[in-house]
């Protein structure tokens, strides 16, 4: 995937992200390890912090270089109007499309990457995000209900299509976008 001028992030933003990459890379290794990201304090208090960090290291890799770093961050680029107009059918879908944003969120749920959010995976995420003041029984009820509401084909798990459908009214583009200052 090309990250560049006509790719997924603008030139000016790339420069800022590169500064950021260098600042995070404390030992000047040229790549980031899990520990570098774990040092970010505000990320540590985020319930999904660990999963977000994992999303930078696909396929069991231990290092993320700058292109890889940008590739993940590119999911959060705001959707500009011109992106949807000049959609060239031959080019791959940009990383910050609605579908790809949803897919990124889906992968935060689907840890074993089997393409479905099982009840067990839903429960795990619930525990992380809500779990502190709630009993296990309540958690299981909420998990069951959430899966049931989204599950259409009755297989007890939420596939990506079902996930997308249940969120079709949600303004995903706005919620999953970060604007980089000029």
């Amino acid at each position: 995937m090309a990250v560049g001028r006509d790719g997924f992030v603008s030139q000016a933003s790339l420069l800022r992200l590169h500064h950021r990459f260098r600042a995070l890379d404390r030992n000047k290794k040229g790549y980031l390890s899990r520990m570098d990201l774990q040092q970010i304090g505000a990320l540590a208090v985020n319930p999904l912090g660990d999963r977000i960090i994992e999303s930078f290291f696909p396929d069991g890799s231990q290092r993320v270089d700058f292109p890889g770093f940008v590739r993940v961050l590119a999911h959060f680029r705001p959707v500009e109007d011109e992106d949807t107009e000049t959609q060239d059918p031959k080019k791959p879908e940009p990383l910050n499309s609605r579908r790809n944003k949803l897919h990124y969120a889906f992968q935060l749920y689907d840890l074993d990457r089997d393409g479905k959010i099982s009840r067990h995976e839903m429960l795990q995420v619930l525990r992380l995000m809500v779990g502190v003041q709630v009993t296990e029984e309540q958690l299981e009820n909420i998990a069951d209900r959430t899966v049931q509401e989204a599950d259409e084909d009755g297989d007890g798990a939420v596939s990506f299509v079902e996930f997308t459908k249940s969120l079709e009214k949600m303004d995903v583009e706005q919620k999953m976008s970060i604007r980089i200052l000029k």
């Binding site: 600042a23 970010i40 990320l43 999963r51 961050l73 919620k175």
Partner: protein
């Protein structure tokens, strides 16, 4: 050779006199105040003078940079992304509150889309968070005449270079030997003093002597590092039967805290010099030292700590994070264990001012000795210590929630943005794991 003799003895005499003068000065101005816990205010005066010199140096650099059209300050000091000003914690509360008001029976609600919020917040902090931003932006706002902090050192003017050279001379040839001498004195006094006190019969006199020997030696060590410490809220200082938990920023945290209070240390038994110090200290008052094998046994650790804490005559525990980064498990157990045993926790926030000397220890870059040498060749270590009001575990909290509560209190006081090394980090199983250890 005969001609040299009288000359020789003159040199020897001069040397002898100057050494005596030096040692007398040392004694009067440094060691005696340390014994009694008073201060002449020399260090504060020193700090003020240094600040004036730094301000002058920065002005020169700015002027010089303008003349040559260099870019002196790193850009992007205002942040990379457009963010909401509220903190993550506040927003989480807001979401939970609005969610639960929808439900009739007060159960918390959850939507599939809740994940978006945390996802975005997480990404935002990866792109731009206060700590890392501050860390790199602080590099050149004001130069403190240490070339190690000035990464863009350019030749600006002769006067500045001379000043820098003078600074190097003073730091390495005057301050460093002085500090090493003080450190040596402090440590040997500690070992000798505590051993001697150990021979006294148990009783109030022994307690009194032990307390003062400990305090005196830590104060000497504080002076050895030229640490200028400001204590806030001293009425909240830890009391017997409590546990003192502090954010661990650098290895010298222990010296800074122990010079203001009388604590029982907890840690792993070491070999070498540390081991000698540990064995001597435990003769004077009951510190809690664990053997390497005992450290792995969580229940033993918890049991010993509980026993110590329940004995009201024993001192408040100062948890002394232990082990190299390989031994991460022992740090985890100490920290988690200290919240499980149900004693009163006295949180302490320590914040370093990096302007005079960077106390942050990058353990992968420098070893302990190099780190200490860097400390001793900086101008000073300036820090603030806040004693927070004591906290106890509530009935409906578990150890982890309690740990979080304490951690947020410390972070809020120290200003999470300004802590170079944060107190801990929640992994996916919500355990508190110690950070940079040694």
């Amino acid at each position: 050779m005969f001609l040299l003799l009288p000359f020789d003895s003159l040199i020897v005499n001069l040397l002898g006199i100057s050494l005596t003068v030096l040692f007398t000065l040392l004694l009067v101005f440094i060691i005696v105040p340390a014994i009694f816990g008073v201060s002449f205010g020399i260090r504060k005066l020193y700090m003020k003078t240094l600040l004036k010199i730094f301000a002058w140096a920065t002005l020169r650099m700015e002027r010089g940079a303008k003349e040559k059209n260099h870019q002196l300050y790193k850009p992007y000091t205002n942040g990379i992304i457009a963010k909401d000003p509220t903190s993550l914690e506040e927003e989480i509360k807001e979401i939970r509150r609005s969610g639960s008001s929808k439900a009739l029976d007060n159960t918390p609600e959850f939507e599939l889309s809740d994940i978006f919020y945390f996802c975005r917040k997480g990404m935002e902090t990866i792109m731009d968070d206060e700590v890392t931003k501050r860390f790199s932006a602080e590099e050149l706002e004001s130069w403190n005449l240490l070339s190690r902090t000035n990464y863009n050192f350019q030749y600006i003017s002769l006067r500045l270079t001379v000043l820098w050279g003078l600074g190097v001379l003073i730091r390495y040839c005057f301050l460093l030997p002085l500090r090493i001498a003080l450190a040596f004195t402090g440590i040997s006094l500690l070992v000798v003093g505590t051993t001697v006190v150990g021979y006294l019969p148990n009783g109030r006199f022994k307690e009194f002597m032990s307390k003062h020997v400990h305090l005196m030696c830590y104060r000497i060590c504080v002076r050895a590092l030229t640490a200028i410490i400001t204590y806030h809220d001293r009425e909240n200082r830890p009391r017997n039967g409590g546990i003192c938990v502090a954010n661990h920023t650098s290895p010298i945290d222990v010296i800074i805290l122990a010079s203001d209070g009388y604590y029982a240390m907890v840690g792993q038994v070491h070999g070498g010099l540390m081991g000698v110090i540990q064995r001597a200290m435990v003769k004077a008052c009951p510190h809690v030292w664990f053997e390497r094998s005992e450290v792995k046994d969580r229940h033993l650790v918890a049991k010993r700590l509980t026993e110590h804490v329940q004995d009201k005559s024993k001192l408040p525990i100062l948890i002394f994070p232990e082990g190299t980064c390989i031994n991460n498990t022992s740090v985890m157990m100490f920290k988690k264990g200290s919240f499980e045993i149900g004693a009163t926790v006295y949180p302490v926030a320590i914040k370093y001012d990096p302007q005079f000397g960077d106390a942050f220890w990058n353990s992968s870059k420098y070893g302990m000795v190099t780190y200490l040498l860097r400390m001793m060749t900086s101008w000073a270590i300036v820090c603030s210590v806040w004693y927070l009001p004591p906290m106890t575990r509530e009935a409906d909290e578990d150890a982890v929630q309690f740990a979080n509560r304490v951690k947020s209190a410390i972070a809020r006081q120290g200003g999470l943005v300004d802590l170079l090394c944060l107190p801990g980090h929640l992994d996916s199983a919500h355990l508190w794991v110690g950070m940079t250890c040694y």
